[in-house]
Symmetry: C2
Subunit: 286 residues, 2 copies
């Protein structure tokens, strides 16, 4: 049976280390600050923003939540963003997706100051990642959190066979880049590929397709590490991942559960990256 | 026997179409201009620069070659670059590598105006490629030329298995990104990987390792497309690629020779990208 990679435990550990760092920063009168902008009344988005706010406060990070009404124009939103971009007391900015349809989300997102880009989505930060020069630059939180999980469980990457299923700019592509930078042999495949062709010999499988049963028992070799980024509702309305967890657990060496795997690490990584952005900006201003 | 992908013929065709475009631009009083900066006396570099200069002139592109002495300081080089960066009559800038050891090559290269980055190496342009938003942005010339070759021979990419051997920022990584953006299933592997594991079922193999015999006959399935980026000297001092050409030709569907394959396309792509940069800058200034 696979060792379960306990995302909640790792997230707790990461939060504790973040909190310690923040305490030291506070003693030097530095208060990391995360600003989250949310537009409209999407209930899931409001829930996410509340949980980020709560987590930040728990860790001693100052949290600003700017809730704008549904009818906010793109110009008004850009003006708020511009103020935050230039406000030296704000270290990290996040615009909660999705934005209302009358706003060009990509255009607005593209205006976040890259030095405050806590989501790691800006072009310049993606370029740094692609070129393996991302040491002091933010990276998308989900794949960054996954790298931390692999590290905590001492899962070797150098020269290992890794497969990333899904090629989104938020998960798949940055995940692949991080694995390439770590020296793994990396296959990046579409969700409609013949998954088994790639995964059957893989040491590490990361599934981010949002499709039930993307990875089944026959797709996993004995002892492989299986990371499940999916958050899907199954036939019974239960939250599950892309991976057939019960079956795959019998053959995998390590596996992340859903819930309690990648999810908790993403928000903890968001917090630790807020602190990193604060440190980097202090460094840049020295 | 494989169909030989004739790089010289394709380069000639691309040059002709570039020349036609330049003629039309000239009739509107637009003259694309490529500036090449070379520092020191490296003979191979001087030869490359001369051939770029000659090709540009043939196509009606204005070519400026700035040859600086070996003892040029980093500051002096940056000052020349800065002038070119701001000179509106220069559309494309290339700094010939390698630079003398007393100059931080990476630092200097990083100062090229991204809008004139004909090599496509700047962080912002790499980010655009990584995010599949590179439509009006420059891309590294060797992989861009290879995509053109695949297109000219109608080699399908969507859903096909591609393997890129070598992960440099100049060839391997941008090649992988272009193939991912085209919808291929892409494996990016180190030169020390077990190549056969990946290539034996691949539809497209791109080798950019600089190692003789990287791809042998047993590594290639019948009908596959084999692209050879290598430029190596063999035991007899003859220029050859990474691929065992004679053997592999017997099983591959398409193959690029060395010399006469990828090489000629790279310089033609440099010229066509100079013209594209000129068009994009005209567009940005509208």
């Amino acid at each position: 049976m696979a060792t379960v990679i306990d995302g909640r435990l790792l997230a707790k550990k990461l939060n504790e280390s973040t909190k310690e760092e923040v305490t030291i920063m506070n003693s030097k009168s530095i208060v990391p600050c995360l600003a989250v902008i949310i537009v409209g009344e999407d209930q899931a988005s409001k829930r996410y923003v509340r949980s980020k706010h709560k987590k930040a406060e728990q860790l001693g990070i100052k949290s600003i939540v700017k809730a704008l009404p549904e009818e906010t124009t793109e110009k008004e939103l850009l003006s708020v963003l511009d103020e935050y971009n230039h406000n030296d007391s704000i270290n990290a900015i996040l615009i909660q997706s999705p934005l209302p349809k009358h706003i060009n989300e990509k255009f607005v997102m593209g205006h976040i100051n890259p030095q405050k880009d806590v989501d790691g989505f800006q072009t310049i930060n993606s370029g740094k990642l692609f070129l393996n020069e991302n040491e002091n630059y933010p990276v998308a939180c989900t794949p960054k959190g996954i790298m931390k999980m692999l590290e905590e469980y001492n899962i070797e990457l150098l020269g290992k066979k890794a497969v990333v299923i899904g090629r989104s700019t938020i998960v798949g592509r940055p995940m692949a880049a991080l694995l390439i930078n770590a020296g793994a042999e990396v296959s990046v495949i579409n969700h409609y590929a013949n998954v088994n062709d790639y995964t059957k010999d893989a040491d590490i499988i990361v599934s981010a397709t949002g499709e039930l049963h993307t990875v089944t028992k026959k797709d996993v070799k004995s002892g492989a590490t299986v990371i499940d980024v999916g958050q899907n509702l199954n036939e019974d309305g239960k939250l599950v991942g892309d991976v057939d967890y019960d079956d795959v657990s019998q053959v995998a060496g390590y596996i992340t559960p859903v819930p309690g795997g990648v999810g908790p690490m993403t928000i903890s990584t968001l917090m630790s990256q807020t602190v990193e952005l604060t440190k980097w900006s202090e460094k840049h201003n020295e």
